[in-house]
């Protein structure tokens, strides 16, 4: 009975985090982006500096009519948002935020495998949406998503493999436990590759070619309205949470910090995640969208070689050290 309660409690907490953190990041994006462009952003919703803007948006989305195009593949079309969103919830379960047993939803032994495999599923949501919409723009968006997934999944996996090699384990808490401060310069290239590839996988600007609104309307999401569209948006922001959390855990030492009391490690994790999320927003504001060929070129001629070099470096240091 106690076990059931424990599991239920953990799931509820993870679910709450899953609902709250993406909204916090979304609101931060509203405000940070506005100020980076010399604007104020939302100021009215909720009274104080528009803190409830995303809540208001959610209410608006919920009120909208849920339209399915006549020629669409109805089932697949309706299922796609869930396929896009749920993997991130599953990944969140496996991300440890503190050193203790209670600071992770569920310890998965093959954590990296689980996390990366499930994150890849999320992109399938966009593919399904693009294919099922019966719209050429959606189809183009879906195909671009597929191309991007193929190109960027590889460097992401290679970079993650480098950390797994360094730590000698594929368990996420195990990796953070093995972390030493000098891993930071050692794995910095891998970290950059992982972060950039993750951004591309989330289709965040400057890698938002699949949704490029000035060319193909909104890519795979063109035909979506109301709650289903909101779920796609939520998936994007949940993806930011997951990517930043994963980068923190794999490359930035998770709950390790230069100072701080025992038991406050989760503050470090959240802090690093927040800084990374800020960088995601910052990149979006600063850079224009990459063209499709530039996107592929960056992945195959820059990120993959860099990731391979990182693995080689990790291997050399590992052999010399032992």
């Amino acid at each position: 009975m106690n076990d059931v309660l424990d599991v239920a409690f953990r799931l509820v907490v993870v679910f709450a985090v899953f609902l709250v953190l993406p909204l916090v990041i979304g609101q931060t994006e509203h405000k940070v982006m506005a100020h980076m462009q010399g604007r104020l952003g939302p100021m009215y919703a909720g009274g104080f500096h528009g803190w409830a803007q995303l809540v208001a948006d959610g209410v608006k989305f919920a009120q909208k009519e849920d339209v399915v195009p006549a020629n669409a593949d109805r089932r697949i079309f309706q299922l796609a948002p869930a396929v896009a969103l749920l993997p991130y919830l599953l990944v969140l379960v496996a991300i440890p935020i503190g050193p203790s047993e209670g600071a992770v939803g569920e310890i998965v032994d093959a954590g990296i495998f689980f996390v990366l495999a499930v994150m890849g599923v999320g992109v399938l949501g966009s593919l399904m949406a693009g294919w099922a919409s019966a719209n050429k723009f959606s189809l183009l968006g879906g195909l671009r998503t597929a191309a991007q997934l193929l190109a960027y999944e590889l460097p992401m996996l290679l970079a993650a493999a480098s950390v797994a090699m360094a730590a000698g384990t594929v368990s996420l808490p195990g990796i953070v436990n093995a972390f030493e401060w000098w891993w930071l310069p050692w794995q910095i290239v891998g970290a950059l590759v992982f972060f950039v590839a993750g951004l591309a996988e989330l289709q965040r600007p400057p890698f938002d070619m699949p949704v490029a609104d000035s060319e193909i309307i909104f890519g795979a999401y063109t035909e979506y309205t109301g709650l289903r569209f909101a779920l796609f948006l939520l998936a994007e922001y949940a993806g930011i949470v997951v990517l930043c959390g994963l980068t923190t855990v794999l490359f930035l030492g998770g709950w390790h910090g230069p100072f701080g009391a025992e038991g406050l490690g989760w503050v470090w994790t959240l802090l690093k995640t927040a800084v990374l999320a800020f960088i995601v927003i910052w990149l979006r504001v600063s850079y224009p969208r990459l063209r499709e060929d530039q996107l592929q070129k960056l992945a195959w001629t820059t990120l993959v070689p860099l990731a391979l070099a990182q693995i080689a470096l990790t291997g050399i240091v590992k052999v010399v050290n032992s």
Binding site: V32, A34, H35, M36, Q37, G38, R39, L40, M43, W282, L283, V285, S286, Y287
Partner: protein
């Protein structure tokens, strides 16, 4: 020297970060009123006391958006045996702001300083017909006309002040001459007499200026265009 590869990317990030730390440019308009420059062309106010129904504004208006109705009244002769005078009385003065293109020609041509720019701009209506504003509304807008901005340092003196000063100086000179004539036989020191005319000059100028001020703001209009 060739730029370091990637320096452009760093520069881009620096620009956005710097912008974030600066004050944003958003005008929170309905909450905070904008600070408009004094010569803002918001709406045209009518100082109807000055209007003589000469119709110049209506005739010069490129849009024909000014409506003026008037009638003639006869004023009995001021002196017995004199001639009766007639004068125009304004019945209607309306500007159709749906047609007005805010060129300001009416204000330029008004020879009696009856039309003014006001920075007031919140007179949107839901019906286009309601944009024809009648004289009462135009007169109300007169209260929002700001004082003309001060002259530039070193600018030419306003004409009415120059005229007033000339008159005052003439009086002062005459008085000084009279005083000097009166003082010379008495053999008084010239310094003592000097101060009185100077003080008189000051008061004369002040009086003249007050008289001009009594009919604001048209008295100040030439001052605004003093450099023309």
């Amino acid at each position: 020297m060739a730029p370091i590869p990637g320096s452009g990317l760093a520069k881009g990030l620096a620009v956005t970060l710097r912008t974030m730390t600066k004050k944003s440019h958003t005008a929170q308009y309905p909450d905070v009123q904008p600070e408009l420059p004094p010569r803002t062309r918001g709406v045209i106010g009518l100082f109807e006391e000055n209007c003589t129904v000469c119709m110049l504004c209506a005739r010069e208006c490129p849009d024909w958006c000014i409506y003026i109705d008037s009638h003639k009244e006869t004023i009995p002769a001021a002196t017995p045996g004199g001639r009766e005078r007639s004068r125009n009385v304004l019945d209607r003065f309306a500007i159709d702001f749906a047609l007005c293109m805010y060129c300001g020609i009416c204000i330029e041509v008004c020879p009696f300083d009856a039309l003014f720019w006001s920075p007031e701009f919140e007179y949107a209506e839901t019906d286009i017909h309601d944009l024809t504003h009648e004289r009462d509304k135009l007169r109300e807008w007169m209260w929002t006309v700001p004082e003309p901005p001060a002259l530039d340092p070193g600018a030419e003196e306003p004409k009415e002040i120059a005229a007033a000063r000339k008159a005052a100086e003439k009086v002062a000179a005459a008085q000084a001459a009279a005083a000097a004539e009166a003082a010379e036989p008495a053999g008084q020191a010239p310094q003592a007499t000097d101060s009185t005319p100077a003080a008189q000059t000051d008061t004369a100028v002040a009086e003249q200026a007050q008289r001009e001020q009594a009919q604001p703001p048209q008295a100040q209009r030439p001052a605004e265009g003093g450099t023309e």
